[in-house]
């Protein structure tokens, strides 16, 4: 455990602490600007991961109607359901771990950033003494300390007396969360979505009431950057009822795969049944260029389409051609 702690300090914590000090020195001895600058830099460095996470997350959401169908279809056979779900993921090229792995990789970075800011604010003598063991031997590091803790109306080492920061933290996190929250007709999923939407912003707003403003500044900056990235990757998402998202190539790839899978599924369904011509509404539902509530429409479209699948009298399962 001690080795892990030392490695953590050496590889992650010390570089961040020293870079923050240097940034502060060159940004007019302003620690607030240093926090904002480093948060931007770190987000920039992690952009591929963040984008992958968002794209995967979106692709997962787009698979939800198919998932719902499978859950309905194999409600009594959990084993089969799991197999079919895995099959669907595999065929659509979407990995559920695609959203978790990037998130897991980012978490240590966020925690290290958090720890660095806390250590640099070093309010108590114990903290300040502890900080001395994380410093590089660069002269600029030694001359820059202690860092000034004033930024705008804030003392970065104490909580915001005007309570603006908790509001900003909660507000920006809510917007960010709302953008990635899918709209769904399933009441159970709606409850979970609502929980996710409100829980994190409220918790962070609450702890901002008592935590140093420097951390809150970091959270607000992170959220604003994430909102911007999310907008460019997935559009406004759940924030607006109808919106045309900016879809990068990667999303198109996912959509294409999903469309292919759906076609395949349709072919399977077709093997023993005729397909009723889709209505214009169903066709709209198949348009994957839409997002937000349209996904819900799409879900209904799929469902309606499946309802439209009916066996032609006189044709039995035995007539089903063998699948190759």
């Amino acid at each position: 455990m001690e080795v892990f702690g030392q490695a953590w300090n050496l590889i992650i914590l010390e570089p961040i602490i020293n870079v923050l000090i240097v940034l502060s020195h060159y940004l007019f001895s302003n620690f607030g600007l240093a926090i904002i600058a480093l948060t931007i830099v770190v987000n920039g460095a992690m952009y591929p991961l963040i984008r992958k996470q968002l794209s995967s997350s979106k692709a997962m959401q787009e698979l939800q109607p198919k998932m719902a169908e499978l859950q309905k279809k194999y409600a009594k056979d959990k084993e089969k359901l799991a197999k079919e779900q895995m099959k669907l993921y595999k065929e659509s090229g979407v990995s559920p771990a695609g959203c978790l792995v990037p998130m897991l990789i980012q978490m240590p970075i966020w925690i290290a950033l958090y720890q660095s800011i806390i250590r640099l604010l070093a309010v108590t003598p114990e903290d300040f003494l502890g900080l001395s063991q994380y410093l590089y031997s660069w002269s600029v590091v030694y001359s820059a300390l202690p860092l000034g803790s004033n930024f705008l109306w804030l003392n970065l080492a104490t909580s915001d007396p005007l309570l603006l920061l908790p509001l900003l933290v909660g507000g920006t996190m809510w917007v960010q969360q709302k953008m990635i929250t899918p709209t769904t007709a399933d009441p159970k999923q709606q409850t979970q979505s609502r929980l996710m939407l409100w829980m994190m912003p409220l918790m962070f707003a609450f702890i901002t009431l008592s935590f140093p403003s420097g951390l809150a500044l970091f959270w607000v900056t992170s959220s604003v950057i994430r909102i911007a990235i999310q907008y460019f990757v997935t559009g406004w998402g759940g924030l607006v009822k109808v919106a045309t998202p900016k879809s990068p190539d990667r999303d198109k790839k996912y959509r294409k795969r999903i469309a292919q899978v759906e076609e395949k599924t349709s072919e399977y369904a077709d093997t023993g049944a005729d397909i009723v011509e889709p209505t214009s509404g169903q066709e709209e539902g198949l348009d994957y260029g839409q997002s937000g509530d349209n996904r819900q429409d799409r879900g209904r479209g799929d469902s309606a389409r499946l309802k439209g699948i009916r066996r032609e009298p006189g044709r039995s399962r035995s007539h089903r051609p063998k699948r190759r």
């Binding site: 895995m86 003494l129 300390l145 979970q192 935590f211």
Partner: protein, 381 residues
């Protein structure tokens, strides 16, 4: 075994991650923020009584001949809370500086921004400064000279109070917070500040001496030492400085640059300065030239407690609790004792005995020559 991936599982995992993150942040916040300052008061001996502040926020008087607690009195209980489970509803007042003593009173400053004056044996303070409200945290120690009590404060001011009644004599503003203990020599007070400057102030009037303060490239926390009309001070810029007492001009800046901050007060003896550093080394320099007399003695662990001179030996403790003796005749070190407890408080010596207050609230009395443990006393209630 196949893993069942679905949205419910995903949401649960995300919820779990959020909870872990928030809890983790809270824990790191509590730890990193050091929400509960604990203090590390060193001791002062007078008439066979050792006065020091305990980590429970008490001023304690120990009879060093019978090694028993004579008297103890708690400072006020802090009302400050940090919320979110980081601190209890109230905490003891942390005491970092060593107390100051006169024939009548004992003075001690608290991290709650108050100075207390007690008559020994009395539970009620004679006076408290300020009478109402609090100053910023007081980290350095207080000193008494010619009826005045002097101390520096985190609000960047040096305060001079009437030692008898605690009324303000004068205040002197520096550019940043002060954690250092002042020193007085020939009616002049010298004190370092986080603004990287060393100030010389008229102890009677509070007026600044020299044309301008002496400036280094790093914050100054350590207490200066005055020796042969020269002030010796270590800085966060990792250099030691010798400054003329008359006009604040530089005599020398050490050629050697340490690897970390000079945090503690140096010891000067026989034209040699011994300065402990947070890089774990004791730097031994010639007071006249600033050149290293011998290579720095490496104790292996940071030195954050001020060393003490006993006869012709310098006793120094590392943060990890190893106590060393440096023979000033040959500048060789040898281990006196390994306390195996953290030591941050300044060492204190009297009649060949060294008193060490550890972070586990143990008070050790060691024979300064042999390192024999004479007695220990727990300062816990």
């Amino acid at each position: 075994m196949e893993i069942k991936y679905n949205r419910v599982l995903l949401v649960k995992v995300l919820l779990f991650l959020v909870i872990v993150l928030v809890c983790g942040l809270s824990v790191f916040g509590c730890v990193g923020r050091g929400s509960i300052p604990k203090g590390w008061s060193g001791g002062v001996v007078a008439d066979s009584i050792l006065f020091l502040g305990s980590m429970e926020g008490k001023l304690v008087a120990v009879d060093i001949s019978s090694h028993t607690r004579l008297w103890e009195v708690p400072l006020e209980t802090s009302e400050q809370t940090s919320g979110f489970g980081c601190a209890p509803a109230s905490t003891a007042v942390a005491i970092y500086g060593s107390p100051a003593i006169t024939e009548e009173l004992v003075y001690v400053g608290g991290y709650n921004g108050k100075i207390y004056a007690f008559s020994v044996g009395k539970d009620e303070p004679r006076w408290i400064y300020p009478r109402e409200g609090n100053l910023q945290p007081i980290v350095g120690g207080a000193i008494v000279s010619q009826g005045k009590l002097y101390f520096g404060c985190s609000d960047g001011k040096v305060y001079a109070l009437d030692a008898a009644d605690g009324y303000t004599e004068w205040e002197f503003q520096t550019g940043s917070k002060i954690w250092a203990t002042p020193v007085i020599d020939s009616e002049t007070l010298y004190i370092g500040s986080f603004d990287k400057k060393l100030y010389a102030v008229d102890a009677a009037t509070g007026e600044e001496k020299w044309g301008k303060p002496f400036e280094t490239q790093g914050a100054i926390i350590s207490t200066p030492v005055v020796y042969n009309n020269t002030i010796y001070i270590g800085s966060f810029d990792r250099y030691l400085y010798a400054i003329r007492i008359t006009d604040g001009s530089l005599v020398w800046k050490s050629e050697v640059k340490a690897d970390n901050w000079f945090w503690t007060k140096p010891v000067v003896f026989n034209n040699t300065i011994y300065a402990g550093n947070l890089d774990g080394k004791v730097y031994i320099l010639d007071t006249e030239t600033g050149e290293e007399i011998v290579d720095a003695i490496d104790l292996g662990r940071p030195i954050s407690s001020s060393p003490v001179l006993v006869d012709d030996s310098v006793i120094v403790a590392s943060e990890e609790g190893q106590v060393w003796i440096i023979d000033t005749t040959n500048n060789q070190k040898s281990e006196l004792k390994n306390l195996e407890e953290k030591v941050y408080a300044s060492l204190c010596a009297s009649d060949g005995v060294v008193y060490i207050h550890t972070s586990k609230e143990e008070l050790y009395a060691l024979n300064a020559q042999s390192g024999a443990e004479l007695w220990t006393l727990s300062l816990r209630s």
